[in-house]
Symmetry: C2
Subunit: 372 residues, 2 copies
């Protein structure tokens, strides 16, 4: 069995006000092309197909068309679950009919215990769920956290293992913690919503959704696919793509995706950014987070940059940004006036004057009095 | 071919703030029972399955469950279209898979021209559409009204008629106007959105949705099913139900539905309404529009009635109502002060005092000045 593992499509997502629909449309087409080229036997989508519980009509149309093309036109079996961004009842619409053409879309906890056998593999499709759903399903009031609930779920799933099949879990949660094989199985590790990796050790592969980086874990057999697109400036340096997973012999190969418009950080002076010899070398249509190396005040900064870089996400100042980072690290130790002084220094490159300090001190005192 | 014709379920509708979900659930179960008892070969739903473009999760779940039971459990072919209350793209979710089990759900104009043949009948499923969709489909800028668009649609549908089949149109619009066979085919009759009946004369049956009364037309072969429940006080006297239609020999039989709670008008004095010997003979759980025959001021009127009649929709005064109706007829001719005086008289049964008239006159003068 060879399958493609993707997740976190977040259809309908907006990025700093930009509608990503065209980007998502393009990346979904690319995923379909990869599935065909790699001759996979199935596609796994590990949750968060939509970005909202109430996607727009256009977004609904995009997902409907995509799933129709993959399953009905490409004739590719589909194994999908709902994530925390999906509305389970809405996403479930039509799902009882889908199974006629090997499209399994699970949106309720109980469906995790109806494994799907395709080729040499038993797939367990565990949708995102809240602890109350597990308390209800297992009739156990003690399942107050996802970690506790997941222990009950995994225990039950293992009773369903067919011994002559490979066992693949498709799920949408936050997995972390000790390495597999360590004795650390404490459920309190790292927080209430975190599922310890050790719990997942008996699966041949765990196809996860939820975290947006493929490198969120460092495990051979438990992987996040990551989102197919960069959805935040913080993800600018990440490589996005899908996993092509073979069950026997086991192998997972990462295939990168190439977005319609990349999301990049750009550090330069204002003058450079507006120089044709510079920007003609740039993919100016990319989503850009620009860090200006200038210190000067520049009127209509954003508007002027947008004439050349239409998908400008943000503009920051290099000096301010650097010093702010330093300030953030120490912020817990600082008195309010020192914090203000540091902030001013970071933004302006000069210290508060004596008069400014006096004024700030008075204001702070007034605020403090008001609180008592 | 024998089929059940229903429409205008309006799932998710609220009636004067009351959630109708339980009533709708019950009536849908009853429709399924009738379909089984009458041994129909198919069920036709002529639009407005939902009341809103964005139905709640609970409402989505109810429709999903209902359609699943009818088509997958009862194994009954389903022929459905979207109405003006439905979001076509949302309702379309899953529809390409439905046809595997003879569930045809058409939400786009183009799909009207893909007739469905079941038994001796060719069904044309024409969803609700706006004129712009027809202008686009026919590439004809002159189709500026539904009436004009419908002439193009019907003309094209007739070219698809299989001569050895019966021809049934399922549609969702406002049909009215001259009798069939009359020479009146003017498209301007009655307004831009009205489709003249003469256009529909060549079908063996037209299963309509949109108007909520089964008696909206007086035609043998063109019928509204009406809604399955009374959705307004003005519908209190209507009988709700479904049509059981046989194509050969043609016959349409109306089967009434029995709601969980009826919607009724009740005329009585306040004292009577609160007398046990009266209300113990009443289905007090019904949705009630009460007309009080009293003239007195009754403190906490609504609250006291609700202790006995929990689904109270409205309370009106008999005398006031009558006089208001008379006033309404003449309202165009009345000066503002006379209108106010009449309104006061209708509500209170006494005329404005001289002091009240003076105050009102001053207020009206202030308002009139403000306008200039």
């Amino acid at each position: 069995m060879r399958f493609l593992h993707t997740a976190d499509w977040h259809l309908g997502k907006k990025l700093n006000g930009f509608d990503l629909l065209a980007d998502q449309q393009a990346i979904l087409t690319q995923i379909q092309t990869i599935a065909a080229r790699e001759q996979v036997d199935a596609m796994v989508i590990a949750g968060d197909l939509y970005d909202h519980h109430l996607p727009s009509e256009t977004t609904v149309h995009l997902l409907n068309q995509t799933l129709q093309t993959i399953n009905l036109d490409q004739k590719l079996p589909l194994l999908a679950i709902s994530g925390n961004h999906d509305s389970a009842p809405r996403l479930a619409t039509g799902s009882p009919w889908f199974e006629n053409t090997a499209f399994y879309l699970h949106t309720q906890l109980a469906q995790a215990f109806e494994p799907v056998v395709l080729g040499d593999t038993q797939f367990f499709l565990l949708p995102y769920f809240e602890p109350f759903a597990a308390r209800q399903y297992f009739d156990d009031p003690d399942l107050t956290t996802i970690a506790k609930a997941m222990q009950a779920v995994i225990t039950k799933l293992k009773t369903l293992f067919l011994p002559d099949k490979k066992h693949v879990l498709v799920a949408h949660f936050f997995a972390a913690g000790g390495d597999i094989g360590s004795s650390e199985t404490s459920l309190t590790i790292g927080g209430l919503d975190i599922v310890p990796l050790a719990l997942l050790a008996d699966f041949d592969y765990v196809a996860l959704g939820h975290l947006h980086s493929k490198d969120a874990l460092h495990q051979d057999r438990i992987r996040y696919s990551g989102a197919p697109l960069k959805f935040a400036v913080g993800e600018a340096s990440q490589t996005k793509g899908v996993w092509i997973v073979d069950t026997a012999p086991f192998q997972a190969q990462f295939v990168p995706l190439h977005p319609l418009r990349d999301l990049r950080q750009l550090n330069a002076s204002f003058e450079t950014l507006l120089t044709p010899t510079f920007y003609e070398q740039q993919a100016t249509d990319d989503y850009l987070a620009i860090t200006l190396t200038d210190d000067d005040i520049i009127p209509n900064l954003r508007g002027r940059l947008q004439t050349i870089y239409p998908h400008l996400l943000q503009v920051r100042r290099a000096t301010g940004a650097v010093q702010l980072t330093q300030a953030t690290q120490a912020v817990a130790q600082l008195a309010p006036l020192d914090l203000l002084a540091d902030y001013y220094q970071a933004l302006n490159g000069t210290a508060l004057t004596a008069a400014q300090q006096k004024w700030a001190q008075e204001q702070l005192r007034t605020v403090e009095k008001g609180e008592k």
